[in-house]
Symmetry: C2
Subunit: 159 residues, 2 copies
């Protein structure tokens, strides 16, 4: 077996939802509080010069016994095509890491206020990166049709 | 100290650059080979239905002694503003995790062929996620001026 990689959380999500619920995430605000045992306010200096950040986090309430290493139907919906775990974004994935672009509402001391982070209260945060437009996809973007079904209510409920 | 998180690489980057060089990355093609000790071709079934993927990887050649936990000038350029490590994308960051959107050129067996992945030969890969347009930033996007300087040659050399 290949060597494991050990990570230390840089902080935790505080506030926001207490339970995962995959709908209307852009209505949720929360705070990322840095772990002040090893990080201070300097670490997020200038982050509020960016509109958005990429937050990497651990799906810490997902039962490791439910991790899918092969294929499954997204959201367990048999009407959606059988799809490899690395071709979908479900939390039940090897290494249990989420990665989400959310809005940076402000920085204060060792806290970052965010909107639209799909991680619940208490979630360990592994990294924060500024969203740079240069890191958007280069070239034509396409995706399968089933993605529309799955994502239609994820950020915002249809009015 | 908070508990550490143990990750197992899902595979490795093969081919592409042997050394990091922060210029013209979109000219580089490489292959992500899944670790077949625990994953098989099912895990990437359907990934080629997406134009792009988000690849999470470990900056495995970065000397941990060089990790910045506070602020520094991007690319160590004193002309650029002093900036927190979580407001820049340098590899010398806590947890040494990179996250990049690259093009999916094709899937064959347990391999994914990619273009524009800024990770060198031998890099441990932690996750692959499909790029979904719904996961792009919601709302107005802005970033500081210094980003333009840093990123101007990153993907493509000016002609």
């Amino acid at each position: 077996m290949t060597a494991t990689i050990a990570l230390r959380p840089i902080g935790f999500v505080r506030g926001g939802r207490k339970e995962p619920f995959n709908d209307d995430w852009d209505s949720v605000t929360a705070t990322i509080e840095l772990d002040t045992d090893w990080l201070d306010a300097d670490a997020i200096m200038g982050l509020d010069g960016f509109s958005h950040a990429v937050v990497l986090f651990r799906f810490h309430v997902t039962d490791p016994a439910t991790i899918v290493t092969g294929a499954r139907h997204p959201r367990n919906d048999p009407d959606l095509p059988l799809t490899g775990i690395f071709a979908q974004r479900g939390h039940y994935r090897p290494n249990l890491i989420g990665s989400t672009v959310c809005r940076v509402l402000g920085v204060e001391g060792t806290s970052v206020r965010v909107r639209g982070l799909d991680a619940i209260d208490g979630t360990p945060v592994i990294d924060i990166k500024p969203y740079m437009t240069a890191f958007a996809p280069r070239g034509e973007v396409f995706e399968p049709e089933w993605v529309d079904d799955v994502m239609s209510r994820y950020w915002k409920k249809p009015s």
